[in-house]
Structures are given as C-alpha cells and as structure tokens.
C-alpha cells in the first residue's frame, strides 16, 4: 500500500534537513582535534573518540597526548596497531566515588606515539572513562590534547575558553564535551 501524502512529505523534508544538518556537522572535523560524542551525562561511562583531522601545518602526526581532566576516572585507553600506548598515573585532587569504591588515583595522561598519521589522512584515538557525579552538569568539560608531529612541530589543542567566550574564539581550542545531568 502506497504511503499517504503527509508521510511522504515528512520524509522528503526530514531527509533534506538531515542532509543540511549533516553538511554542517561534518565541517568541524576538518581542522580541529575534536571529540566525536560531544555530550554525555555525569555519573556514567563515556567513550571518547578523538578525531585527528590533519597534521601540524602539513607535517605528519607522530604522537597524540591527552590530559585527563580532574573528575574523570577509571580511564582505559584503546590500544592502536602501529602506535605505542602509554599512560601516566597520578593522584587526583580528591577521592571520587566509582560505583561505591573511593578512587583517589589513576591515569592522568594518555599518549599514543610512534605511529605516523599523514596530513592527508584521518584517524581516531579512543579511550573509555567514567565521568564522576562530582562533575557539574550543564558545563563543558575540556580535554586538552597535544599533537606532536614530524620535525618537532607541535599543535596544542589546549585553550579553554574564558567565561563568555566560545571555543570558536580561539585558535587552538581544547576538545569539549557538554555534561548532562545524571540519568
């Protein structure tokens, strides 16, 4: 049975809008290091996919370092073929509750090195972590990333917007994640 008119109309409209939205949402991947999923509730496990769209001014990426923000615990980075995975452990500012277990130390920095990601290629770096309930919902959590490249070039995606400013106002904004209330 053929679909009634309103349904087809809606489909057409939603598709064209979807295409429009898609056109806008793909643009950001072009130049900055960003997170794939840009919102998550606090008190939940979050899979961070860091998208690295290019090298440092044309040079190939050889190392990606991620600073784990305070309040993010139980970090488990995903190994990546061709890259050496390393973590730095340290003490947190306080003990966080991880499903009933007080957690006062853990991974504070993750790095993938030794690989070679050409400027004209794209890749993703993944880690899984727990966003503690101590993080404030309705704020943006910034995850500073340092991208090191061949020939000593470095791009630091570490700028955290001041109050009243948007990430867009900065040249090297840190990837951000909007925190939602606990489910």
């Amino acid at each position: 049975m053929p679909a009634p008119f309103p349904q087809g109309f809606l489909t057409m409209k939603s598709l064209s809008l979807a295409a429009l939205v898609a056109a806008f949402t793909t643009a950001p991947a072009l130049a900055h290091v960003t997170l794939e999923t840009q919102q998550a509730p606090v008190g939940s496990t979050y899979k961070a996919v860091l998208r690295v769209p290019h090298g440092c001014k044309g040079a190939a990426t050889t190392k990606v370092r991620v600073r784990i923000p305070e309040g993010v615990i139980a970090v488990k980075p995903m190994p990546k073929p061709g890259w050496t995975l390393e973590t730095t452990k340290g003490k947190y500012e306080k003990a966080y509750d991880y499903y009933g277990t007080p957690t006062a130390e853990g991974v504070t920095e993750v790095s993938w090195s030794g690989g070679k990601l050409l400027d004209e290629h794209y890749d993703e770096f993944v880690l899984r972590a727990y966003l503690t309930a101590d993080l404030k919902p309705e704020t943006t959590l910034y995850v500073p990333v340092v991208q090191e490249c061949e020939g000593g070039a470095v791009e630091r995606w570490i700028e955290i917007p001041a109050a009243g400013k948007a990430a867009d106002d900065y040249k090297f904004p840190a990837p951000g994640l909007k925190l939602l209330p606990k489910k």
Binding site: L10, S14, L17, H54, R67, D168
Partner: protein, 528 residues
C-alpha cells in the same frame, strides 16, 4: 510507532545534534608557508608574494603597508589549490613592509595574520617631531624670558641692595619693575608650558587642562619656587625689616632652586653633578646680573665708589660659579664638540658663549682700566663706566633671550635618550602578570623584552612564549613571533621591525605547561 513519528524523531535528533555542534570547533585554515618568509630581508623587489595554507581559502582583505605607513590594498591575486599568489605592486620602496592578510576558509571562518619583510634593509626609524603652533611657542619663549629677567635683575637687584649697598627709594623702581615682570611672566610661561605639552592652540590658554598639564610637569615646581622668591624679593625691597638681609638671601638662593628643579640641564645624569651645577649657575648669574642695575644707579650717587669696590670684591667668586658650572653642564649636554655647530641646542650654546665672552671682555675692561679712575671720583670716567654697565645689561638681556630658546631645542644627550626610550606596558591578571618593554619605543627595528610572573608575584616558569602584534586601526593583522628565553629568565623577541607608529595590540600566548595556556592582551603606544 508509526513512520511519520519515527521520522519526526530522527529529524528532532538531528536538529538537536546540529544545535549541540553550533559553536563547536570550526575549521581554521593555518598558514604553512610564505614567500618572502616572515621576517625576511630580500635584496630585490619581489614581483609576487605567495601564501600557502593548510586548506583551501579565499581572500577577504589583502593589504600592503609600506615603510612610510601608507596602506594599499592588493587586488590582483591567483588562487591555485591551497596557495594564494599575489602580484606585487611594481613601485615598492626600500625598507620594511607588512603584508597583512585575512582569508576565509571552507567553513566560513575568517583568519588573519601578517608577514613582515624588508627590501634592502629594515626601515630605519624616521625622525619626526611634534610641534605646537608658533603663537604658543612665542608665548612660551616670552614667558621664559620675562621670568629669567625677573630672577636676574629683580631678585639679583634686591639681593644686591640688601647685602651690598642700600639705594634711595627712587632707585628701587626699576628693580621692582623687573620683579613684577617676573611675577607676571610666571603664569604666562606656566600656561604656555601646558599648551605646549598638550599641543593645544593659544586659544586654549585658559582651559584647566593646560594648567593641569603644566602643574604636572616639573615646571610646576619651578614656577612655585620662583613665584615665592619673587614675592619675597618684592617685600624685602619695600618693607624694611631686620630680617631683610636673610629674606633677600633666601630669595637669591630661590633663583637657583627654581631653575635646578626643572629643565633639560637639571634632568641630565649624573644628577649629583647637574642639579648643583644648575643651582650655582643660576645664583651666580642672578648675583652678577642683579648687581649691574643698582651699580649703575649707585655710580650717580656720591658714595658710588664704595658700592663699586664691594661689587668688585664679590664678582670673581660669582664668575667662578658661573664658568665652572656652565662648563660642566655643557660637557654633559653636548657630548661631542661638533654638536656645538650641528645641533640646534649646540648653536644656541655657541651664540650664548659668544655673548658671554663679550660680557666678560667688557667686565674686564671695567675692572682693570676704569675702576681705579672711577673710584678716584672722575666724573667722565664714571659716566663711561655707567654706559658700559648699560651695555652689559643689554648683553645679559640678549643672553637670557637666547637661553629661553633652549626650551625648544632638546640637547643632543636628550635627543639620543628620547630615541632610545622604551615603550612599556604592564599586564596583571589573576593567572599571570607580564612586564613588556619595546625598545626603542618607536618605529623601526625593535627588541621586545617580557618578564613573566604569576598572579601572586611569584615566578612563572613558562615553557614557551609567543607574541602577536597587530594594529587593527591600520589594518595590520597579527605579526607572530616566538620569544626566546634569556639567561636572566626574561623572554625576548629581537627579529622584529614595527613599520608604523600608533597603538599596537600585543597578545602574549604563555604556555605554562604542556597542557595549559594563558593569554594576555594589552595595547602599547609606539612613537613615530
């Protein structure tokens, strides 16, 4: 769930996603290479400039600011993939140029920057002086002259009468006249000083701003001390009192103090030498010049010979004050003998020295050829002596008129010091503090030194420091430079030429640690 509702949900989800993305990172094109390279010195005029970016761009504004500060927009360019080739104008002058670019990358986000390059060699700093209008300068000169005359003949005269020889009431009138002239000149010179400082026209002479500016300058102190000294001298002249001699001495010393607290000479280093030298020079001058008028009047009196004798006893000491202090100041101010003829300041000094030589010649003639004869009371000798003294007074007036010109001619020492004066700015935020100095603080090649502290005056161990200088008014997009850490812990950028004067914006990008960055921003005024 039926199909329309499901599609509506999809639509809603995508709309929310797009909202969430809004304000998120957009693509910024990065400049990867330029020809000529930023900071380069090229031997010959380039025919083309090229800018290469990390992704395709299209230009919004391209402008070239020349060594003379004029800006022109570049409209002839070719885009090939990620490279922008710009046809250079054919008539580029030697010196430093700024190629300022602003482009938009695929996502519609504009980015800008500047490339600095010099043809032949970096621009030398141009010599430009700002001058106030001639009427203000004339008023200032006249005010200074009247002021000097009041100090020399008024206060000097009153002191001579109090200490050396009293004169009948009628002889007080000319001296009182000079004192009043001095008192009237103080506000005139004061107002003119303020007008000159602010480069205001003569019509603004009564505006509070001019007077405030003058009060804020060192001349404010000079005017205050001199005004008091002139008043005291006037009182001593007309109100005889037991403490008259003491007050007269105070007024006389006041002339030295007034001149020692301001002016080019007093401001010169070493201050321990220059300020006392100016003081001695001024009291010596007032002592000598001030004696002449009472002396000429005394010589008409029967007991004039006594006054002449007393004057002659004192004059060598005063002359010693004047010559020694004058020589010391000249050495400090002129620095090189050839500056006596090659700089306006030196020429004024040369003119003054010629008149001083004539004055000393006349004085010596009086002393060795006429004094004995005059003392013995021969009337015609006395009248010749009186005429020579009148000539001396005229020469002193001329000297003071010339000296008042110094106000407009900074000494070679000050010219060199002004040129080298840095432009400084201090930034204090919660996170960091920076002291920035641009040396010299004028157009041309400069060195920028930055010292960093944290928000609580503690040391700030930065990993890296980048500086970006821009001048939005002139359309110059940021010129970026990496600072180099010095042995003393300060940061320095030395490969920079600032092509034009005005208000520049300096932005510091301080890398505190691998993952932490602080930005500071302030403006600094660069002189022409």
């Amino acid at each position: 769930m039926n199909r329309p509702f499901r599609l509506l949900l999809v639509l809603l989800g995508l709309a929310i996603a797009s909202l969430a993305m809004a304000g998120q990172a957009l693509a910024h094109a990065a400049l990867t290479k330029t020809v000529p390279a930023d900071g380069a010195i090229v031997a010959s005029t380039p025919t083309e400039f090229s800018l290469s970016f990390s992704e395709p761009v299209s230009p919004l504004v391209l402008s070239l600011i020349g060594p003379d500060g004029t800006s022109r927009s570049l409209t002839r360019f070719v885009l090939t993939d990620r490279m922008l080739s710009i046809i250079a104008p054919g008539d580029l002058a030697h010196g430093t140029h700024v190629l300022s670019w602003r482009v938009v990358s695929e996502d519609g986000h504009p980015v800008g920057g500047s490339v600095l390059f010099s043809i032949g060699s970096p621009s030398a700093a141009p010599v430009v002086t700002t001058q106030s209008e001639p009427a203000v300068r004339f008023m200032l000169w006249l005010g200074k002259l009247g002021f000097y005359l009041g100090l020399a003949f008024g206060i000097g005269g009153a002191a001579f009468m109090a200490w050396v020889t009293p004169l009948p009431a009628v002889a007080r009138a000319p001296i009182a006249g000079f004192l009043v002239l001095g008192l009237l000149s103080v506000p005139i010179a004061f107002a003119a000083q303020g007008l000159d400082a602010l480069a205001l026209p003569l019509s603004a002479a009564l505006q509070p701003a001019a007077w405030q500016a003058a009060a804020a300058s060192s001349f404010g102190r000079t005017a205050l001390i001199a005004g008091l000294a002139l008043l005291v001298a006037l009182i001593v002249l007309f109100v005889p009192s037991r403490s008259g001699r003491l007050l007269a001495a105070l007024a006389w010393l006041g002339t030295g103090a007034a001149l020692a607290v301001s002016g080019h000479a007093s401001a010169a280093e070493p201050q321990l030498l220059t300020r006392p030298a100016v003081f001695l020079h001024a009291i010596g001058m007032a002592g000598w010049a001030g004696a002449l008028l009472p002396l000429a009047l005394a010589l008409r009196q029967p007991d004039g010979a006594l006054a002449l004798q007393r004057f002659s006893r004192r004059i060598p000491l005063l002359l010693l004050f004047i010559l020694l202090s004058g020589a010391a100041l000249a050495i400090v101010q002129v620095e090189r003998p050839q500056a006596l003829l090659t700089t306006p300041y030196g020429l004024v000094l040369t003119g003054k020295l010629a008149l001083v030589a004539a004055l000393i010649g006349l004085g010596a003639f009086n002393r060795y050829r006429l004094r004995g004869a005059a003392a013995s009371g021969r009337a015609n000798t006395r009248s010749l002596l009186t005429r020579i003294i009148a000539a001396e007074i005229a020469i002193i007036v001329a000297i003071l008129a010339i000296v008042a010109l110094w106000r407009f001619t900074p000494p070679p020492r000050a010219l060199a010091a002004t040129a080298a004066q840095p432009a400084s700015v201090h930034i204090h935020t919660e996170k960091a503090m920076a002291d920035i100095s641009v040396t010299p603080g004028r157009t041309g090649p400069v060195t920028i030194t930055v010292s960093l502290l944290d928000g609580e005056f503690g040391p700030l161990a930065a990993k890296e420091l980048r500086l970006a200088l821009s001048q939005p008014e002139a359309g110059i997009e940021p010129i970026e430079r990496q600072a180099i850490k010095q042995a003393d812990g300060n940061w320095q950028v030395s490969d920079l030429t600032l092509p034009i004067a005005g208000r520049w914006t300096i932005e510091l990008e301080i890398l505190v640690s691998d993952f932490e960055m602080t930005r500071l921003k302030e403006t600094v005024e660069i002189r022409p």
